[in-house]
Structure formats: C-alpha cells, structure tokens
Amino acid sequence: MDELLQAFCATLESAFNGLIAMDPEAKHRLADMQGKVIRIRLKEIDLSLTLIPTSDGVMVYPLYDAEPDTEIVGTPMGLINLGLGNKSALFTGEVEINGDVKLGQQVNRLLDQLHIDWEEQLSHLTGDAVAHHLGRAARGTLQWGTQALGGLATKLTEYLQHESRDLPLHDEVEPFLTQVDGLRDDLARLEARIKRIQHTLGNEE
C-alpha cells in the first residue's frame, strides 16, 4: 500500500515538475520556499498530500513526517477553484490556510502564475517555424471557439425568449419575483397575526 501511494505521488511529482520546468520563472519563485513543508488536505474525503519545494522542483509525499509550515485545507471544488485562479474560495470558507499564511499565499501565487509557453516547448520538437504556425493556429481556434460559444449562447437565449416564448424576458421575471417576495412577507405577517390572536383567545378562556 505504501509503495502504491508513493508511486502515485512520484507520478504526480514528475507531472508537476514537468510543468514547472516549462516556466523559467517558477524555479526562482520556488527558491524562497525551499525545504518548507506544505500540506494540502481535502476536507470531505480526509486525503492529504504534502508538497516540499526544493531547489529544482517540488517533492510530493502522501504524509511527510514533520509538522507542516502551512496547511491548506479545502473542499475538492474549493481547491480546484483556487487552482484555477478563483480567489473567492478563500473568502467563502471553502479553502482555509493555516500556519504560515504568507507561505500559503506564495503557493497560491505560484500556481496562479505558472505560465507555460507551449509554443516554446513545442519548438524543441518541431523547430521554431512549425511551432509558431501551430501556435498561431491554436490561438486562432481558441479565439474563434470563444466567440462562437458566446454568439451561440446569445442566439439561443433570443430564440427561447422571443421566438418560441418558452422562457420569459428578464423584465417580466423581475417584477414577478418581487411580487413573490411580497406575498411571502404578507403570508408570514398573517401567520404571526393569527398566532397572536390564538394566543389572546387562549388567555381569555
């Protein structure tokens, strides 16, 4: 079991170090954190991983036998959100940083700023010219994809609201929701009044 966990961590470690190797700046940022023990713990499934930044990458162990300098605890979704650069997870309590908070933020920043120059990496395999063209094509495709998705969403909304009239317009929904809120409040007030009257009647009897 130990061996399997270690093999899993070794695989994770080499994947992570592969990413770090692609970003020349990442190694400089790691140098400040060298030898610090950073534990990442998943709240709901009680699973943890320990990261130790070193002079040439990051070591990953299931549970390093030392008190961690910083502990990042979170729900799986919270940690994924944080990894994707969405800071709101820190404010909603989905992710907590205990211990050396500055170190925790450094880790967060490192993940945030991991800029991988795919074109440069590709050029080692294919040469500069091909990599540049592929890079341009990929960027073009990405841009087209984003525009196409955005356009599709707008057109679909317009069709459902104006043509097929399956969905109400925003301007119609807003007053309806306000009316529902008002009705709920009126009902609560009526309920309170009935209770008060029942209470008074009970006392008189």
Binding site: Q34, G35, S55, M59, Y61
Partner: protein, 249 residues
Amino acid sequence: MENNGKTHFGFEEVDVQSKQGRVADVFHSVAAKYDIMNDVMSFGIHRLWKRVTIEKSGVRRGQRVLDLAGGTGDLASKFASIVGPDGEVILADINASMLREGRDRLINDGHAGNTRYAQVNAECLPFPDNYFDCITIAFGLRNVTDKDAALRSMYRVLKPGGRLLILEFSKPVVPGLNQVYDVYSFKLLPMMGKLIANDPDSYRYLAESIRMHPDQDTLKGMMVEAGFERTEYHNLTGGIVALHKGYKI
C-alpha cells in the same frame, strides 16, 4: 553476530578483521553498476522504499543530515535539495569507490555548498556529539561488522530529538513469500549479477548477507539497547525490506 573473533560474511564464517576487507572488495567491484543493478534487482521498487525513508525522516530546511553508507548518493541528493543553503548533508561511506560514485552523482545533480563527503567507519564516527538532526543508513547496516558499536556511535552523534532511520532487507512476513524470495535470491540474483555486472560472487554475497541480517524485532531490540527511544519499524513489500526508526531523546 560475533563469536570467538568470527563473524559472518554471507553464509561463510570469517575472522572479524577480514570481514571489512572482503565487504570492501564486493563494493569496489559493484560500485560502477550499483544503481542499475538496484533497479534490475528490485524491479525499480527500491526507489519507492527510499521515498518512504525520506518521508519518514521528516527532514526540513536548515537541518544537518548524515547519510551513512550513502553509496551512490540518491538519498543524500534528495536531502540536499530539501535542507537548502542553510542546512548541510554529509554523504559518508566506508568504501572509496562508492563514495566517489556518490560525490559525482551529487555534483551532477547540481549540489554544492551544502554537501560534504567523508570516508568513515560507522562503528566509530568521526563527528562531534549531538551533531546531526537525522541519520539515515539504507542497505548498509548489514555490511557493518559490529552493528551494536555502529548503533551506539550513531546515537552519540545525533542531537537530542534527532532520529535514525535504517532501511534494510529483513524477513518476509507474508505467507508463501519466503519460498519465492529464496529462489529469487539464490538463483536469479547471482545470474543477474553475472549478466549485468559480470560479478556473480558479489551478488551471491548480497543475497547471503540479507539472510544473515537480524530480523525486524531483533534489530529493534538492538536499537533500544543502544539507547534509542520510541523505536518502531515499518514493513515494506511484505517485509522483504523494513524501515526502522528511533529517536535520541
């Protein structure tokens, strides 16, 4: 292990004085191909055993580590990456050929400034008292002639709170594993030694020395005898290997 000035060299009984020389010959002979043989012999699992050792060591930035019988320096290289410029790793081995391999490895891995090298006998370590935060000895203790003296010496140079980790072949605890392991050790191992390192005798010695090494509980008892506290061991791969850990408190 010792009896009337005799000790074990594999299954042979030899004079205490001659064991060190004969072990030295084995390691001079295998040094250059030590890493590749380890990979072949253990199917690469020795890397995972060493990962467990590093994990259990809990070494962190700024600490001083002694990697005894450090061989080709794979543990020392990892420790040097962890302890950083304000820590120190000493790679030590009794065998000059192995130490040379280890030094080359560490330099090639880019480690300098926080690493030192020492040719030492584990039975009488030439370091001050209370000097190290952690000592590791991986696949080395079974080649030491006087293991009790070596454990006492390690205890002396450890700081209070420091820990010793011994990674060593041990006795399989999984039923049925013993028979498979016997065939592997005495038939396959010397054959692989012949094919890869052209040195079947050295690998026969390795297999025999593994069998003569004290089992898990005996070694734990020896650590307690030397003064270590909170001693424990952890079986790996069904007890083929065990990692012992003890603290100086």
